[in-house]
Symmetry: none
Subunit: 242 residues, 2 copies
């Protein structure tokens, strides 16, 4: 299993995509996904900067939304240089690597999101993640180029993966965390019911309230069974039998 997937969101420079691919191959990762790359795909500048890495990987996949790019992933971490005003587990690159490795041993595919070069990830993308990664650097000079950020995260993952660990508990299918796709379905259903029931009293506040709800619920890392239970709760409370 290729895990984690590396997801670059709105990358601007082809060179940075190529450097990220090279860094991934250096660290034995090979599944690269792009969301709305500025210059489209394929990109000759990326090819040349990758030093052959792009040719050795499975084809890069391109998506129009972050949600689609991580639809099959069960654990999603967002790299952020600055603290966000969200309650969310925050990892260093090293502790994140341990979390990802543990889940990989249990058959859970992970994704790591990287935002655009200048602006970083949007709060909406961060809210959809299970946790954040901040790479500990010199606080007076912490700006990393995109390829370097991917390198440090990928490097920590390789170091952790090659350490010898105890075999993890084998989990049955029912205890797998839900895929992101199903999680999003659940969020959308909940939000639509809340809309119907006039929960969002103020239209201007709605996007923030939705983000906060998603942030809170994504932290639970629900299993498939739990997501079904949550659907059942909505049905029961709204008086609809599911």
């Amino acid at each position: 299993m290729n895990s984690p997937v590396i997801v670059l969101i709105e990358p601007q420079m082809g060179e940075n995509i190529g450097a990220a691919a090279r860094a991934m191959m250096n660290c034995d990762l090979s599944e690269l996904r792009l969301v709305r790359p500025r210059d489209g795909w394929p990109n000759p500048a990326a090819e040349s900067m990758s030093s052959g890495a792009l040719e050795k990987m499975p084809p890069v996949q391109v998506f129009d939304t972050t949600a689609k790019a991580v639809a099959d992933c069960r654990f999603v971490l967002a790299t952020t240089a600055r603290a966000r005003d969200m309650t969310k587990p925050s990892f260093t690159a090293r502790t994140a690597a341990a979390e990802i490795s543990m889940r990989k041993n249990n058959g859970r595919k992970a994704a790591v999101l990287f935002g655009p070069e200048r602006s970083g990830l949007t709060n909406d993308d961060v809210a959809l993640s299970h946790g954040t990664i901040a790479i500990p650097l010199n606080p007076a000079f912490s700006s990393l180029n995109l390829g370097q950020a991917v390198l440090l995260v990928a490097y920590e993952i390789l170091q952790t993966a090659s350490e010898n660990r105890l075999p993890q508990k084998i989990e049955d299918a029912d205890s797998l965390p839900v895929t992101h796709e199903r999680l999003l379905e659940l969020f959308e259903r909940l939000e639509s019911e809340l809309e119907t029931h006039h929960f969002f009293r103020n239209e201007g506040q709605k996007p923030v309230m939705i983000r906060n709800l998603r942030n809170m619920l994504s932290r639970a890392e629900m299993t498939d069974q739990e997501a079904r239970t949550f659907h059942g709760i909505i049905s029961a409370l709204t008086g609809k039998k599911s």
Copy 2:
């Protein structure tokens, strides 16, 4: 004390010198020395690639031999991608960082040598060192660019030096996890509403279902605000204004 010194021997591309300087500043290292840089010094391509790092460091020093460049150092490690036929302690980037850190605490200045982009260090330069550093990477794709090699070594040195983590974000009252008392109130209210709405079809299953619900929701480690929001969701879905 600036330790370790980073020594680039016969670097070819100014861009790589700039990327190395940036990586050093990212990791709180600031003493860069060059031995016979191909394009002389200063180098405008290096300046621009360093994103301001070169301006913030003490001036780069240039030497005509490796021996002079490390004359004041008491511990010298040579980075090598391939094994050399020499009996010499060999470190990973992480174990090298620990060796350097220990010596720094004892007042011993260290240096890390990096060879030219294509060919790497000469055996003579390796022979002059106390040990070698090999960065553990994918053996099928281990070629790193010079700036990235400096980044990984500098990163490990910073991690060892700070050995412990980002300061945790100071939390304000609103981001504190809810007390267990309030959490239990929320659970009891939810369960009572579910009871009213005939969610628990089978009385025998009810204790297990309640345990599973509590398990799922407690994993979210809700804040006070989030618990209030969750109360609001229950009120909205059941058609009660809170």
